[in-house]
C-alpha cells in the first residue's frame, strides 16, 4: 500500500505541479501563493464533485460521459495555456491550474477515499506525503533549470517546452476519444518501448512533460503535431504583432 500510494500520488500530482512551474517560467503570468491556493481549493471542490457524481457521469452518454468530461477539460486546458501565453493574465493561469487540479487530482481523491480504511490510513498518509515530496522536489529542480535557461537567453526553448506540454493535452484527449470509439485511427508500426518504456521513470517523466508515448497511433501523432503548430503559431503571431 505504501509504494502504491507513492506511485499514485506522483502520477497524479506531477502533471499539476509541472503545469504550475511551466506557467510561472514560460509565461508572464506566475501565480502568487494566494491565487494558487484559491485555484487549488476550487479544483479540490471539483474533485469532490467528480467523486460523488463520477458513477453517474461515467454511465451517461452510452458509457462515454467521463471521457467526454475529460476531453472537455483537456481541450479547455490547451486553449487556456495558449491564452495565458498570449495575454499574460494571471486569472487565465489560475483557471488553467484549477482545471488541471480537477483533471488529475480526482484520481488521487478517489484513491484516497476508497482505500482510507483505518488499518491503511497511516500508510496511505505516509505514501501520499512521500509522493508530494517527490513532486515538489522535481518541480523545484525544474523551476530553477528553466530559470537558468531564461538567464542564458533561450526563451525559444521555454516556449517549445510549453508548446509540447500543451500539445500533449490534445494527444491525451484524442487517446480518450479513441478509447470510447468517438474517432478511429490507423495503427502505426512505431514501437519505442525498447528505447524508453512508458513504465520507466524516464518514460513517466517524459510523458508528463511532453506527452511521450512509446506506441503512438496515427490520430494522436497527427493531433500532437497539429496542436504543436497551433500553439506555436498562436504565440508567434502574438509576438510578431507586438513588434
Amino acid at each position: 500500500m505504501l509504494l502504491n500510494a507513492v506511485v499514485v500520488s506522483v502520477n497524479q500530482l506531477l502533471p499539476v505541479t509541472v503545469l504550475w512551474v511551466l506557467l510561472a517560467q514560460c509565461t508572464n503570468a506566475a501565480l502568487p501563493l494566494k491565487t494558487t491556493l484559491i485555484a487549488l481549493s476550487a479544483g479540490l471542490v471539483g474533485c469532490f464533485g467528480i467523486w460523488f457524481l463520477g458513477g453517474e457521469i461515467a454511465s451517461s452518454f452510452d458509457y462515454r460521459g467521463f471521457e467526454l468530461l475529460q476531453i472537455g477539460l483537456l481541450l479547455s486546458l490547451f486553449c487556456l495555456m495558449i491564452a495565458t501565453k498570449r495575454t499574460g493574465h494571471t486569472a487565465l493561469a489560475a483557471l488553467a491550474f484549477g482545471l488541471a487540479v480537477v483533471l488529475y487530482l480526482h484520481h488521487l481523491a478517489s484513491f484516497a477515499f476508497s482505500y482510507s480504511k483505518p488499518a491503511d490510513g497511516q500508510t496511505l498518509a505516509i505514501g501520499t506525503s512521500l509522493g508530494v515530496g517527490i513532486c515538489l522536489s522535481f518541480s523545484i529542480l525544474l523551476f530553477f533549470f528553466l530559470d537558468w535557461l531564461k538567464s542564458k537567453h533561450l526563451p525559444w526553448l521555454l516556449l517549445l517546452l510549453l508548446a509540447l506540454h500543451g500539445a500533449s493535452k490534445v494527444s491525451i484527449a484524442l487517446d480518450l476519444a479513441l478509447q470510447v470509439d468517438l474517432i478511429s485511427a490507423a495503427r502505426l508500426e512505431i514501437d519505442l518501448r525498447q528505447i524508453v518504456d512508458e513504465h520507466s521513470v524516464v518514460g513517466r517523466v517524459l510523458r508528463v512533460l511532453v506527452g511521450y508515448e512509446a506506441t503512438p497511433n496515427a490520430a494522436t501523432l497527427a493531433g500532437f503535431g497539429g496542436a504543436l503548430i497551433t500553439f506555436l503559431g498562436c504565440t508567434y503571431w502574438r509576438t510578431a504583432h507586438a513588434k
Partner: protein, 119 residues
C-alpha cells in the same frame, strides 16, 4: 404490380445493404469482471487488426483504475458500475493491463492473435 416490383427491388437492394451495415457495425465485445481486486478472465484473446469492445464490470466496493501503457488506455472504474473501452486494431502480441490502485493483484493480458488462431 408496380408496388410489387418496388417491394422486390427494395428487398433486393435492402438486404445486401442491411448485411453490409451489420458487418460494418458489428463489434466483438469481451467482458472482464473485477472482483476482490482481480481481473477475471486475466487473459483475454482478441483477433488482430480489429477494433473490439471491452466491457469491464467493477464488482468491488472501491474505485479502481484500468491502466495499460501497451494499449494506451486509462479508465476509472467506479464501484458496482460497468465501463466500456474500445481497443484496436492491434498487431498480434501481448498487451498487459493492470489496476493502478491494486497493481500487485489486478493484472491481466490482452492476447492478440490472427483471426484464425483467436478462440
Amino acid at each position: 404490380m408496380l408496388r410489387t416490383k418496388v417491394s422486390s427491388l427494395s428487398f433486393a437492394l435492402g438486404l445486401p445493404l442491411a448485411t453490409c451495415s451489420f458487418a460494418l457495425w458489428a463489434e466483438e465485445s469481451y467482458t472482464i469482471i473485477l472482483k476482490n481486486h482481480l481481473f477475471t478472465p486475466a487473459h483475454v484473446e482478441v483477433p488482430a487488426n480489429r477494433k473490439v469492445k471491452l466491457i469491464i464490470e467493477n464488482q468491488d466496493p472501491q474505485v479502481e483504475e484500468f491502466d495499460s501503457f501497451d494499449l494506451n488506455r486509462e479508465k476509472v472504474l467506479f464501484p458496482n458500475r460497468k465501463s466500456v473501452i474500445y481497443i484496436g486494431p492491434l498487431a498480434p502480441g501481448e498487451y498487459s493491463f493492470f489496476g493502478e490502485f491494486s497493481p500487485n493483484t489486478a493484472q491481466g493480458i490482452v492476447i492478440v492473435k490472427e483471426p484464425n488462431n483467436a478462440s
